[in-house]
Symmetry: C2
Subunit: 425 residues, 2 copies
């Protein structure tokens, strides 16, 4: 950024540039967008030494700052990760273009023909943490859906992001896409994100991608409309009529298959009628996998307390552990389970294991979540698992999109109305 520009001026200028080309990008033919995506895929491979050397600057700085190994691992790029980013661009190129679909249409008695047409959102702001793959992924998905994007990544990944967006801009320009369609706020300053969040004249939608703290920060400070993503305090409820073998597999999968992600289960609810039969076996299975159990008094009556089986505190029912820890509660009824979930859940993913049709139907109708599951794992809340072919995040709010968001969720619609001189009476 030019040294005589303030951070605010830089942000505004880049957002303005994106907005200025947004109608061109919105109307690009599908084959031009696909060519741009394939160019990005190829350029990531061709320019990998430049990318890796920029990334190593970030890694070196991170080590100097003594960042955690987990953070450094998320920041790190290598040949395999570059290949994965490249492959994901090829996959996005292969997906159908959502833009231009006539969602519905009708003719009014006065002869007006009304069409509801799928169009891009416009300019999307993405605020994220120090994961360089999000830079590539966000740019590719936004572009395929006809959007421009303004990226603000974590400061620890700055050099990597500068290199990646440099490569992306050149690759899309070679395909005939205005390079202004992809903008990086190339500053470590947090003020850049703050300013971006309030640029309603240029930014149509903000999508924060990252942990609970980042998302809350954006929700609280943005005036631009935000899609809230990610936080998942997910439950599995084992009903009185559950097949306990199935319940064991589902609970184990939901907790242990990948505990660090938002669709992993954090709390197990068990109907009192099967608690004596189910809790000892699931406890053994979980303890063998290194899971810590935080139980209600009734749970601790059935499963003897030990170093890894401890009493749950009030805050446990509201905690997204993202770790090998599970809260366990015995409930008296389906009603109590639903009520517990609606009180403590984050409207993400909730599962029931049952053989009873009415229980399944009531759970699905009365639990307020983006995805409700009968006899399967919460881990399926994912754009790829749902068959959407892509995912920019999982919405936990109710406006616009809920659950996994793919390309379609990066679009909106406009009404196109043709008349022949009609005026309103």
């Amino acid at each position: 950024m030019p040294s005589n520009m303030s951070v605010e001026q830089m942000v505004e200028e880049k957002a303005r540039q994106a907005k200025a080309v947004s109608q061109i990008v919105a109307n690009l033919p599908t084959d031009v967008k696909n060519k741009a995506l394939l160019n990005i895929a190829q350029a990531l491979i061709d320019r990998r030494e430049y990318i890796l050397s920029s990334n190593s600057e970030d890694i070196e700085a991170a080590r100097k700052k003594k960042l955690s190994e987990a953070l450094i691992d998320r920041l790190l790029l290598n040949e395999a990760r570059i290949e994965a980013m490249s492959e994901s661009m090829r996959q996005v190129a292969a997906l159908p273009d959502p833009v231009g679909e006539i969602i519905e249409g009708w003719k009014r008695p006065n002869g007006l023909v009304i069409q509801k047409v799928r169009v891009p959102l416009g300019v999307i702001g993405i605020i994220y943490e120090a994961r360089p793959n999000v830079t590539v992924d966000s740019a590719g998905l936004c572009l395929k859906a006809g959007n421009c994007v303004v990226l603000k990544g974590g400061s620890e990944a700055l050099q990597s992001n500068i290199a990646l967006t440099h490569v992306i801009k050149q690759a899309i320009a070679d395909a005939g896409v205005p390079p202004e369609a992809v903008q990086l706020l190339d500053t470590p300053e947090r003020a850049a994100a703050q300013h971006l969040m309030r640029l309603n004249q240029y930014i149509d939608v903000l999508i924060p991608r990252g942990g609970a703290g980042l998302i809350r920060y954006v929700m609280e400070n943005a005036t631009v409309p935000v899609i809230e993503t990610g936080v998942g305090n997910c439950h599995v409820y084992v009903d009185a009529s559950a097949d306990l073998d199935m319940a064991e597999e589902i609970v184990f999968n939901a907790k242990c298959q990948r505990p660090s992600v938002c669709n992993a289960a954090e709390t197990l609810l068990v109907h009192k009628d099967v608690a004596e039969a189910f809790l000892p076996r699931i406890a053994k299975r979980l303890l063998d996998a290194g899971v810590e159990i935080r139980g209600c008094p009734e749970t601790l009556r059935i499963v003897p307390p030990c170093e890894k089986v401890v009493p749950a505190k009030d805050e446990d029912w509201d905690t997204e552990y993202l770790d090998l820890i599970i809260a366990v509660k015995v409930v008296n009824s389906l009603d109590e389970a639903i009520e517990h979930i609606n009180r403590h859940g984050t409207k993400h993913s909730e599962a029931i294991v049952t053989r009873d049709l009415k229980s399944a139907q009531r759970f699905c109708a009365e639990v307020d979540a983006a995805a409700v599951y009968v006899n399967t794992s919460t881990r399926f809340t994912d754009g790829f698992e749902f068959g959407l072919g892509a995912e920019i995040g999982i919405s936990t709010q109710k406006l616009h999109a809920r659950g996994p968001m793919g390309l379609k969720e990066l679009t909106t619609y406009k009404y196109v109305v043709y008349g022949d001189g009609q005026v309103r009476k």
Copy 2:
């Protein structure tokens, strides 16, 4: 409200009560909701003396405060207006219930059956001005779509709103709907609205209904997701190939049929090739109707300046007059018209008058607005005119809903997934 409660406590308590019954309301059978709406319709008539006497307290206070006659007229209820509110509830009862629609569904290769089901938004906060009819209208529409509602109307209408919600709560309770589904923040204090806007744990969506100032205030202060409504700086563009008779009717209708509303036109753009032929005739038509013209230099070369024909200033291109005033500009090309609209428009409603297919197609594709019109008036952006059967507002943002919002736009969806023991690999 109990005198020992702070405004914040009162707001929180009412929002909490609405949330507590929201899953019951979400799952009410259609006939119960319709019975509740018909009960409201009847109760408004039966209790009209109580409502009118409460309204007269508001009117008296408004006169003492020397509020404008326009404001007092919006505040005023009479027998005819009560009948109109009652009739609108009967119409909402007659509309199809949007809740429960299976929007789409598919089976995954692993056997999971995924259904995308239309469900209510939950609890909707409505912040509005001193129009008592908005109280009834919002409660009825939200209820039909299975939502609870927390209402904060303008302080000038407080007594009217207390009476109306009292009548509504009793009427819906008689039909078996929890009266907690409709909540009024019965205080004149602005702090109540401010607190409501940040109650993310209880309020799913905020819809401000009113003027530009109110909407901007909500956008800037809310952490709850907001649907931006209303502000319309709408344009009619008369292309070089336009049928000038048709253009005259459309421009006249868009400006004059009801100048005080958001879908009225505020700026006329005329292609230079037809400016000499079109501007004198449309100017005469508009001037005869009492419209003031604020023209660009080229317009003023063709239409001689006078008391009602004056030079446009820069800010005129960005002004929503909501009055008998129109800004007029001669443009050199379709490109210049599109660029002007995308720069100065508010993404509401934009019209082209043309005989040229390519111009029509480019205008529809490249103008960024909720509704784009070919050869018809911007005044048609309206839920009833579109055939939606109802309207809670006109969205000018891109998330969730664009243009007229009917019952469907007061819903969201959830994914309901049935499995048979599937776990994620």
